[in-house]
Amino acid sequence: MTQLTPSRRRIDGGAIAFRILVGVLYLFLLAPLLIVVVISFSSNTYLSFPPEGFTWNWYAILPQKTVFVSGLQTSLITASIVTVVVLLVGVPASLAIQRYDFPGRAAISAFFLSPLLVPTIVLALGLVLVLGPLGLMNTYAAIVIGHISITLPYVMRTTMMSLATSDTSSEEAARVLGASGSTVFRHVTFPIILPGVIAGAVMAFVVSFDELVIALFVAQSGKPTLPVQLMNYVATSADAAVASLSVVLIVFSAIIVVVVERLVGLRRALR
């Protein structure tokens, strides 16, 4: 006993040093978000340190910033349309891959997930080259078309995950009892995979809402989304209105993190 105590104390010392290191690194990881929160309440007229006072002003002026309001509107509209489109095409495709065996299944599955393996800036250029001659640049359609391929993998991944982990015996039972394919899907399969579908829809919405590069390339001057407006504002102005807007967006993201975590677990949805 007397021999154990000193060695245990030495190990604890190392563990504490390690914990402090981890704490410092966490601070580094969260620094930009923390600083944005601090600056959003700072009464300094331009971005500087240290804050001289506390103010709600940066939040109060947000509704008057027309660039943000119109950007938010564009982002909400396009992200909603993208989510609906991607769900409509993605859920059936997930079903085909998980529940049916057909030639070319592996290749198609890889194709569906492949857009995440292409840098968005490369895809953005391709979209400009195709949409330009069609006169579709700077429209809602351009943003929606641009965001389909980068959101589809998220919907398919979460949906396929719940299809793969769900028990197929109730589907078989319903079939044996004479239910048609569509009835089985509506009354048995769909309710089972719903959490995965919702998680995929949330991810698709967030990815589309946050996406900057494609939106910047295809609709910068006609239909700038909120990230595009944010980027332009950050590049040209030096006040804290961006900070307060960022905090609003961070709170929004935090709510989504909790929702996704509850539904499927964040780690599985992001991988």
Binding site: F49, L117, P119, I121, P227
Partner: protein
């Protein structure tokens, strides 16, 4: 799975079984294709066709202002490879990728190790906290770094008030600033990548080593580190590919002074309108990206097996 149910039903009628099965299989294939077709078409229109068209465009000859000759030449590839400026751009891109990736795994490793070993009830909260920044826009996080690193920012004003420096350090609007920003922005990816690669890391092995008399340093160097090398390597490759293709952070934190392939593609596409040239730069980036991704996947698969 449905075919098993059908075949159970058909057991009694052995004669019909083969024919029924075959038509059933054909019908199933048709259903599967019908289910997959809308998504397939959507991806072909919005993804495959634009990429193919971009690759084709890279063989045209561009004159800027949206004008180009439709031909089949390597002009757009020879130009960047013959111009030292573009070698500089490619060099900057690779340097940015390597620096960000090395520093990123250095700062992510302790967190990933801590989260893998931790059995605390706060573990899930800490995991969520480590990867939650992924869900906030890169613009917001880059803006945060501009506030921290800027001439009037947190670091410079603190150092100035402490009397350590008299003129602000050029942290923002510089290569260094972009590296700092990217390291932080890709930390969640690195932590995720490492944690999934730490499968072989077993606390019992470390306990065994220390009960056999190894001190902390040699447990780490001889047990923990070798077992976490695969995870570190996958995280390195992941952060590398993300860094060489990222646009927002070099554009904003670089302040127009950091020229990498992504910012060059943007300038050629939206400013100079030299599409064949923008396309050839993209193809080069795509090849670079694809090679590293293939390496990454091979490695990840080997680790999974």
């Amino acid at each position: 799975m449905t075919t098993t149910a059908i075949s159970t039903l058909n057991l009694g009628r052995a004669g019909d079984r083969g024919r029924l099965e075959r038509s059933r299989t054909r019908q199933n294939r048709l259903i599967a294709w019908a289910l997959a077709l809308p998504a397939l078409l959507a991806l072909i229109v919005s993804y495959a066709y634009p990429l193919v068209w971009m690759i084709r465009m890279s063989f045209n000859i561009g004159h800027g202002d949206g004008l180009y000759d439709t031909t089949f030449s390597l002009d757009s590839y020879i130009k960047p490879l013959a111009d030292p400026y573009y070698w500089g751009v490619i060099g900057n891109t690779l340097l940015l990728g390597i620096l960000s990736a090395v520093l990123c795994i250095l700062v992510s490793y302790p967190i990933a190790l801590f989260l893998t070993k931790s059995s605390s009830k706060w573990k899930s909260v800490l995991v969520a906290l480590a990867i939650a920044p992924l869900l906030t826009s890169a613009v917001v996080r880059t803006f945060g770094w501009m506030v921290i690193l800027g001439p009037q920012g947190l670091v410079n004003s603190t150092l100035k008030n402490l009397g350590i420096i008299s003129a602000p350090l050029p942290l923002a609007n510089s290569f260094l600033g972009v590296v700092i920003g990217l390291v932080e922005i890709f930390m969640p990816y690195a932590i995720l990548g490492m944690m999934s690669g730490f499968g072989r890391l077993n606390p019992q092995l470390e306990e065994a080593a220390s009960s056999l008399g190894a001190n902390r340093a040699s447990v780490f160097l001889r047990v923990t580190l070798p077992l976490s090398l695969p995870g570190l390597l996958t995280a390195f490759l992941l952060v590398f590919v993300l860094s060489i293709s990222t646009f927002v952070t070099p554009q904003l934190l670089g302040g127009g002074r950091v020229h990498v392939m992504a910012t060059e593609i943007y300038d050629q596409t939206t400013g100079l309108l030299n599409w064949p040239f923008a396309a050839s730069l993209s193809v080069i980036l795509l090849i670079l990206f694809g090679t590293v991704v293939a390496l990454y996947q091979r490695l990840a698969r080997r680790l999974g097996a």
